[in-house]
């Protein structure tokens, strides 16, 4: 009997708020802001007595093919931005989800109910790891894609009311390619996040109280202690920045796309394949993702993450209630 689907469902039931409603409310508020923007534009236009006279003839005359390509690129960036905002929220959702995943049920003693069922500790912890790696990011991506579609419909309808046909601009955009690239980024994000997933789950399983303090203060104190000992001339890691970077990796890698380091990330302009670029340009293109997959940094993190997850499974079998 394969219990994994029902275990994943259980995680979704408990964290529907973070996994589903957080991205929904974020994208819905962007849509509401868009509509509000349109309404105020209409009102200002009326007050100022400005009248646009769009007609298909005008459009044909004044908009060149290059402008449509530019508009298509803008739409791609828009689609990407719709996904980025829930990703920022996803960092906080996943961070606190993982910190609580093996702690909250011990604190409220419901662990005694979960433990009364024939589910192994390994299966329980695995379901939490997979939820953080795939379930939450895929839901966020699905929500942001639907929101982008709604955005396109709203904007098209508005422009259509003013007699502007947006179909050529839509035809010049690449929604499927953009979606495909973002979908490909999900497993890369997931592997990149493993050390942080392991770290947070480990402290979640270990703590008898306040897992947040253990998971967050410990690395910060370690960096400070290291620098302080170094200042006094004692034995320490000389590269304080590297040391901080490793601990930062343990703590913060659940941020989607955090594998793009600042020197690569550049401006938003570089993230998407733009009209001047080859079709497979941009930061999210499959070649760049493959380069991340081929990096030692990613795989060292994966090994560290798996070790921490194994430790969390072991602890899950031994630390049952927080009080004993």
């Amino acid at each position: 009997m394969n219990k994994l689907p029902i275990l994943l469902k259980r995680e979704y039931w408990e964290h529907r708020g973070g996994f589903l409603w957080t991205p929904v409310w974020m994208t819905v508020s962007i849509l509401v802001l868009t509509v509000l923007g349109m309404i105020s534009a209409e009102i200002f236009r009326q007050r100022a007595g400005v009248h646009f006279n769009f007609s298909l003839d005008n459009v044909r005359d004044s908009i060149s093919a290059k402008d449509f390509a530019g508009a298509g690129y803008a739409l791609d960036v828009c689609q990407f931005t719709f996904a980025v905002l829930p990703c920022v929220a996803l960092f906080f959702v996943l961070f606190f989800y993982l910190l609580g995943a093996l702690y909250d049920d011990r604190r409220d003693r419901s662990v005694l109910f979960w433990k009364s069922l024939p589910v192994s500790d390994a299966a329980t912890v695995t379901s939490k790891v997979l939820s953080a790696m795939f379930v939450a990011p895929v839901i966020a991506l699905a929500v942001s894609t639907l929101a982008y579609l709604a955005f396109v419909l709203i904007v098209s309808a508005w422009l259509g009311l003013h007699g502007l046909n947006v179909l050529p601009a839509l035809a010049a955009s690449h929604p499927l390619r953009t979606l495909w690239h973002m979908l490909l980024a999900v497993p890369v994000n997931a592997l990149w996040a493993l050390p942080a997933i392991g770290w947070l789950l480990f402290w979640s399983a270990w703590s008898r109280a306040k897992p947040f303090l253990w998971a967050v203060m410990l690395p910060i104190l370690a960096v400070f202690a290291n620098a302080w000992i170094g200042m006094l001339g004692g034995p320490h890691f000389t590269g304080t920045l590297d040391f901080a970077r490793i601990l930062g990796r343990l703590l913060l890698s659940v941020m989607p796309g955090s594998w793009m380091n600042s020197s690569v990330a550049g401006t938003l302009h570089e993230w998407m394949p733009n009209p001047g670029m080859a079709a497979d340009g941009g930061l999210l293109n499959p070649d760049r993702l493959l380069a991340v997959l081929a990096s030692a940094n990613l795989w060292i993190g994966v090994v560290a993450g798996l070790a921490l997850i194994a430790a969390a499974i072991w602890l899950r079998g031994r630390r049952i209630e927080t009080s004993v």
Partner: protein
Amino acid sequence: MNALVQARHLTKRYGTTRALDDVGFDIESGRIVGLVGPNGAGKTTALKAILGLTDFEGELTVNGVDPRKDRTKLMEDVCFIADVAVLPRWLRVREAIEFVGGVHPRFSREKCDAFLARTKIAPGMRVRELSKGMIVQLHLALVMAIDAKLLVLDEPTLGLDILYRKSFYETLLGDYFDENKTIIVTTHQIEEIENILTDLMFIQNGRIVLSATMDAVGERYVEVMVGPDKADAARALGPLNERQIFGKSIFLFDGVDKARLAELGELHKPSVADLFVATMKGTYA
């Protein structure tokens, strides 16, 4: 046939205190065992050992399985209700049913729905919306729908009103228990369950001080109500306990010839509660 639960030299230390001190017992299939003891006597520790929720020294097999090694397999045959209100508060009733049905091979959805139909619990309700009594009803419905061999109940009715307590044990006895099932129950309200128990186990300071069937308890222990004139004669026979009521003395005897006691006064079957008080004398002193 081997006993369902076999414990030998079971010891559990927390620091220097021994929650269980070289305990041994057998629990046969088809029994309802009351595990009774004062607070801190080691009841919960014993149950946790049986459920594989704690490490321990000694030997213990439950349904032929070492609970420390193969918990997942063990829990297919063992159910437990630990305390009241351990169901997670965010869970909805229908989700609880779907989850247990999804992970437990011996769960019957029809049975669970039938039990719940007799309560006011609706599928869309969250656990946090239920009263304490309803949470226990839900938990009981989930557990009774599982065809398990052993059911462990740790203070299942703590904090419930008498209506819920009564119906809890009536349902358990009427709709769940049969000769293939075994129940271990701990509670402080012994008087409410003594008529459903088949076996009695007293635990004190980590040791089993009494382990007998209810029939044997009835044979061994007897209470005599004695007038003041014969009180000294009764004391000479070495009673376990003596208490005063309406100017008469009630003596509790263990294994003294009943014909002799009948000469002293009227004989009674002692309640488990009286037996418990007599046995545990001096626990907190």
